[in-house]
């Protein structure tokens, strides 16, 4: 029977970050990955915020296969027949230490896995972990490809379904309310065409979010990130909402309708779809996090529920990287103590609480509930769209005064609704 210091389940960002950190400290670590190669089962919207994680992995970023530095932000409220868009750019986005970059996970993770191997970490692809090995409630290893592999500690970075923590008794099965499904196409476009269409320079990129009628009033929204020679175009929809009978259309149809919108079609015109993928996203925030540690086991990345949707920023990858890093730090401390029980591994939770990871989740603990307000996905986009229509319209006859137009849309009842919603928004 094989025995390792540490077994990591899954070569995603959390697992690779943990392995990179452990291997750097000379800890014997093996990463078990079910894909053909690291990255082959991994999919993200495609935007990594570097600021929170840059210093956790010094020297890693200079050569990393990042796509474009995001220098232009955009957001669009989509009404049924109209839309309202704004863009933001600023000098802080145009530095040589960009705040965020677009990435394609299969490329990035494969490269990251090579850096882990350079440090002496072992990566076993084509290896599916089916179960934890439990003895008196303590995790002592895993069953992989039918074989039992033992370790002092297991770090579960097995992805959003979190099957290993579920089987180890750290969490209940996922509830539809706490998850969304993201569908995405990677669409090839010439790099120069991307520069021109999105008003960016060489190596620079744009990120754009969309909300409103594209999800037919359901919780969710669209995104577009520019890569070097492609764009990542996706739509995210609450699993609970799309599952309901009254929802309009199924997920693939909603995505096709989104692509065909007059706001989207010109952006991808002439492009060639190269891949169609999907990924489930944790949306429950702090309340829906898994237990983070147990006897012999730590949980990191999507598996722990580390993704946070704040409306204007949608983040997951840096929480995965950082939680993997802190899981490794916790294991290093446990190794020094020679104990891997829950009480010792609890330092992981402490490290996360002292870092941006759990600080963010605590700060924004009410955000998932506030953002689930259906007004945000139907009523307000229509209201803003109609207001804009009337402000811009020049009729055949005389035009109403601006104040009359405003009063027509912003009635007392409307203002009351907005005030009530604003009180909720104040909590985020």
């Amino acid at each position: 029977m094989e025995k390792f210091d540490v077994i990591i389940v899954g070569a995603g960002l959390a697992g690779l970050a943990a392995a990179y950190t452990l291997a750097g400290e000379g800890v014997e670590v093996v990463v078990l990955e079910r894909g053909d190669y690291p990255g082959s089962k991994n999919l993200s919207g495609g935007r990594l915020y570097l600021n929170p994680v840059r210093d956790l992995f010094p020297g890693l970023w200079d050569e990393a296969p990042l796509e474009r530095a995001i220098v232009r932000e955009g957001a669009t409220l989509m009404a049924r027949n109209r839309s309202f868009t704004f863009h933001y750019t600023g000098s802080e986005l145009r530095t040589d230490r960009p705040q965020s970059c677009s990435i394609l996970r299969s490329k990035f993770d494969r490269w990251f896995a090579e850096r882990v191997e350079e440090r002496g970490g072992m990566i076993l692809p084509k290896t599916l972990v089916t179960d934890p090995v439990l003895e008196n409630g303590k995790v002592c290893g895993v069953i992989a490809g039918g074989d039992e592999l033992r370790a002092d500690a297991v770090i579960a970075c097995d992805g959003v379904l979190s099957l290993i923590p579920e089987k180890a008794g750290l969490r209940a099965p996922a509830r539809p309310h706490d998850y969304a499904v993201g569908v995405k196409e990677v669409i090839r476009l010439d790099g120069q065409v991307i520069n021109d269409r999105f008003s960016v320079g060489e190596g620079e990129g744009a990120a754009h979010l969309f909300a409103g009628d594209i999800t037919k009033g359901l919780f969710g929204g669209g995104f577009l990130y520019t890569n070097q020679d492609s764009v990542s175009l996706g739509l995210v929809i609450s699993i609970e909402d799309i599952s309901k009978e009254e929802a309009a259309g199924d997920a693939p149809a909603l995505f096709e309708a989104f692509k065909a919108r007059p706001e989207i079609e010109p952006l991808i015109r002439g492009g060639e779809t190269m891949e169609y993928g999907a990924h489930v996203i944790p949306e429950g925030g702090y309340r829906a996090l898994s237990r983070l540690f147990g006897d012999g086991i730590l949980v990191a990345g999507d598996s722990a529920g580390f993704a946070l949707n704040l409306g204007f920023t949608v983040r997951g990858m840096e929480y995965a990287l950082a939680s993997g890093y802190f899981a490794a730090r916790a294991v290093i401390e446990a190794k020094k103590a020679g104990r891997y029980d829950a009480a010792t591994l609890a330092v992981y939770q402490k490290l996360l609480e002292d870092s941006f990871v759990l600080k963010d989740f605590q700060t924004f603990r009410d955000t998932p509930r506030v953002l689930s307000n259906p007004h945000l996905f139907g009523h307000y986009p229509e209201l803003v769209g109609n207001l804009m229509r009337d402000l811009y319209t020049v009729p055949a006859g005389p035009k109403s005064p601006v104040f009359t137009t405003l009063r027509k849309h912003l009635t007392l009842g409307e203002l009351w609704t907005m005030l009530m919603d604003a009180k909720e928004v104040a909590k985020i």
Binding site: K41, K126, I239, S243, A251, E275, Y276, A278
Partner: protein, 91 residues
Amino acid sequence: MSDLKAKLGLNVFKPLPAPHIRIRPGMERDPRLRAAARACPAGLYAEGADGVFTLTIDGCLECGTCRIACGTGVLEWGYPEGGTGVQFRFG
């Protein structure tokens, strides 16, 4: 639907030795499966005129939406064997 099949055809798949997700025997008419039919990004669940749901595993993106949408009471759900199934080249 044929558009969706064509899109799935762009992906790299390594043949599955056996289906990794199954509707539990006798549960083919369970209304919970309607959630998977609506939510599955690959459109792999279909409801026949007789109310019987079928699952075609080819093209599965292994996202797990159906497991969350319907639960394991109605689906036997596992990841495919290592090295098989969808292999994202871009991700």
